[in-house]
Amino acid sequence: MTNPSLPENAMEAGPDLSVSLAGLQLKNPVMPASGTFGYGEEYSPYMDLGRLGAVVTKGLSLRPKAGNRTPRIAETHGGMLNAIGLQNVGLEAFCQEKMPFLRQIATPVIVNFFGNSQEEYVEVARQIDQIDGVAAAELNISCPNVKHGGIVFGTDPAAAAAVVGGVREVLNKPLIVKLTPNVTDITVIARAVEDAGADAICCINTLTGMAVDIHSRRPQLANGTGGLSGPAVKPIALRMVYQVARAVKLPVIGVGGIVTAEDALEFLIAGASAVQVGTANFLDPAAMIAIIDGLDRFCRQEQIAKLADLIGTLRC
């Protein structure tokens, strides 16, 4: 089904899968979701990374972050909970150890990042802007603001706007803002983020969930709660992408539970300009290649010359 050795130009005869997003021109709309693809290299034995629309890194912070204790993952019906705790090597090690590899792959690199305060967010953005070979930055606003009682930036429109505005001032690269789904009305946050200067919106991050070990009477995750991802959350993600795509003018990246090309198509039709694949990488390391091939096949079957024409064509 997948043929990583297919030469680039063999696709030219077929449908045009390219999409444009916040100034980036992507050969197709499929990219990994942050935190599920390491720094790219981990999956290079399983695929030609150059076939992906883009690569998105694990979320980075200013300094290395230790993350949570284990167990960090638990399986649920149709999904998984994770509480990795944003463990990452930190920006400096990222530049030295990970970027040399990433610069060589034939697709744009998007760096996901976070901070624990407004200042940290801005400082990380300033440094990312300087990294050669990074095509865009993806701002994860699902983090608690440790300076303000731990309220999550992304659940409050004012806090979200402030952090996006601050980052915008120092970042010249395209800015993608990734929203948390744990809110009453995601369109309010989306509009706040749009007004504050985002170039694209990515939704959704994980839904907060929990699992209990009934014998030890402890949470299954050492952290207590964790983020739910995988096919279980797809209907929620799809609804939010649909809402956001109608509420803002920015392009939207759809993420949440995408496993197959059919799943990806649902998001594109509902209004997403591109999609990210997370948990599915764990189920099948070549899932994204299968999705790209499936998009190609669908376009051929339905005689769609340009995949981008499908975006937002849902008839309600």
């Binding site: 999956y43 994770n82 705790g85 764990f282």
Partner: protein, 285 residues
């Protein structure tokens, strides 16, 4: 390291709750090292979602169904039914389709200075030691110390003996072999062979006791660890253990799936392993 969609050749109960599954896996034999593992999933049914990790028990070849066809190279795992995923595996039959990702991780190093090779295992922890014993036996005599609570927990003695391994069994309740912990036997052996190389796999308390003994005697120890795994390739950071010298400021995590599952004892932070301290915040990813 590849992902193959393949077929089950056999799936049989070998002891109450323990199963051996043979899986068609061409080219696998020459790529796998003792101690490496695979991530496995039945094809077609959406559940369970995540693959499950299993050590490679052995590889081999079966006669082809007809003359003239090549032999069938297989990979074999030995698993215990403990939960949802393994319960579903039990229900699979010859001919059912599975997906196998592997071989994964770092296996045992066998370039030892000493002639004395001591394996220590308990329960399902014997699985990775089986291929290891096979490889070591080409050069060295191999001793295996098997421990368990009671006689029902002692598996595979005959299989190891058939390979030519000298086995020593001990049970906590004395229902089979020596009475007492397996570490008693280890101490005796190490007194006799102070420059032995030790390889251990089994429950965490056993590994800790083995490490304490080996550390105090400065004996080279390799251990194979288990952890919850989602990706198996170092991408999700779900399976980490703390490496030696780990601190919150300088986190030195090791992925069980990629830097392990076999570690040299001195690579690990044994104190933190035992405590499993939460150093991070309570963030989600």
């Amino acid at each position: 390291m590849t992902n193959i969609k393949t077929t089950i050749l056999a799936n049989q109960e070998v002891a109450p709750g323990y199963y051996r599954m043979k899986i068609l896996a061409p080219e696998f034999e020459r790529r796998v090292r003792p101690g490496q593992f695979v991530m496995l999933r039945a094809l077609g049914f959406g559940e369970p979602l995540l693959r499950r990790p299993f050590g490679v028990f052995q590889t081999g070849r079966l006669q082809a169904d007809c003359d003239g066809l090549p032999e069938k190279e297989f990979l074999e795992i030995l698993y215990k039914v403990v939960g949802r995923g393994t319960a579903l595996m039990r229900d699979l039959h010859e001919g059912d389709r599975v997906e196998v990702l592997g071989p994964l991780g770092r296996g045992f190093e066998t370039a030892s200075n000493s002639g004395q090779q001591i394996l220590v295992g308990g329960g399902i922890g014997l699985v990775p030691l089986y291929m290891l014993a096979g490889e070591l036996l080409r050069q060295y005599p191999v001793r295996l110390l098997i421990g368990g609570r009671s006689r029902e927990d002692i598996l595979m003695v005959t299989e190891f003996e058939r390979l030519g391994v000298e086995t020593y069994v001990s049970t906590d309740d004395g229902t089979l072999g020596d009475a007492g912990p397996v570490t008693q036997v280890l101490e005796r052996k190490l007194t006799r062979f102070p420059d032995a190389a030790v390889y251990a796999c089994g429950p965490m308390p056993m590994l800790e006791a083995v490490n304490a003994i080996c550390a105090s005697r400065r004996v080279a120890l390799q251990v194979s660890l288990e952890a919850f795994m989602a990706c198996g390739v170092g991408a999700c950071l779900g399976c980490v253990v703390k490496g030696a010298g780990h601190s919150k400021e300088d986190p030195r995590y090791l992925c069980t799936c990629k830097e392990g599952p076999v570690f040299r004892a001195e690579e690990l932070d044994w104190e933190l392993l035992a405590r499993r301290v939460n150093e991070g915040g309570r963030d989600h990813d």
